[in-house]
Amino acid sequence: MTNAKILVNYVDSDETYIAEPSNYIEMDLTNDYFIHSQTLADLLTHEPTADELNVAAAIISDSAAVTIAKILLMDYSHSVLGSYYTHLIHGTGGNHRYSFCLSFDGATATEPQLEAWDDSDLDSYTNHVLGAGTINNSMVKAVCTTLSLPGVGWAGTPLAGANVLLLNGGNGALTTPGSGLNNDLYCNLKIVIPMAYAIPKVETFVLAVRYSWV
């Protein structure tokens, strides 16, 4: 089976994983998580409390859509750069290629795709952040940057249910990489809250990557 890992770039989102591996943190999927926040500080020396998260949350605007300013990695091991729990993921939402890396250690039978669901049952998208049942209303926007920059002001795919992001740019399955190499795919993410959205909520959602192997 081909295995996948996810790495986040906390230094310079214009550098690939293979060129600058030290710029990346591999997520410990059991313990680490993403924080989508407007003002939460980078390099906290403790896991943020619920109060801190609430104070730093995005505010819905009556006059414009709000793109949540930051995606941070909550690094449970706090072993990078000293003893920091939060790391700002570089370049999220902007015209940058190498914010998120999904690295596959072999070939796949189909093209990997990024998906978003309410939970790990992978069968519903009723959360407001995922469009409250309408996939094109998902606030989670994703763009594949494996092959190119996303562009200034990129709109992205509203990620929910059947609205998925092909991570190889639509070019199909991943071939067997060279000896000692992986297949590294990249994407960028942002959350955009519509103007005057009527229902303020604190919600979670699940990101997942679907692919096939032989």
């Binding site: 059991t30 399955a173 959602f205 679907r210 032989v214």
Partner: protein
């Protein structure tokens, strides 16, 4: 545990596949003409494919990246298919409820073209 598939080649030799979806041993199938594949489905029934020019088997899984089940790989479907002339005939099998969906598509159909072609056997 029983193997998920067993192959009989035209030369009457055989090959036994893996016993779990994470180590299928499909890649290691010798480069010989396959006559018949005996395929065990998730609920134990046997599917037999023969008479095709080439065969393909894949496992479709979803790796959870966030949330309480982050890190887990959920196996969702298996696909076993045969190609003959310009047609691909196969079965999409749910590993969750055992439902089977048969399909018959042209080999130029996008879902077939976009497969990793090196795994046709």
């Amino acid at each position: 545990m029983n193997p998920i598939f067993t192959i009989v080649f035209d030369d009457n030799t055989s090959y036994v596949g893996g016993c779990d979806y994470f180590e299928m041993k499909w890649k290691d199938i010798p480069n010989k003409k396959i006559r018949t594949i005996f395929y065990t489905m998730p609920l134990g029934d046997m599917l037999v494919l023969n008479g095709y020019d080439k065969y393909y088997h894949r496992i479709e899984g979803v790796k959870i990246l966030t949330g309480k089940d982050a890190g887990k790989m959920k196996i969702i479907f298996t696909y076993i298919m045969g190609k003959i002339k310009s047609q691909v005939i196969g079965y999409k099998i749910s590993t969750i409820n055992g439902n089977i969906e048969k399909f018959n598509v042209d080999e130029k159909e996008e879902s077939i073209i976009k497969l990793n072609q090196e795994f046709w056997k």
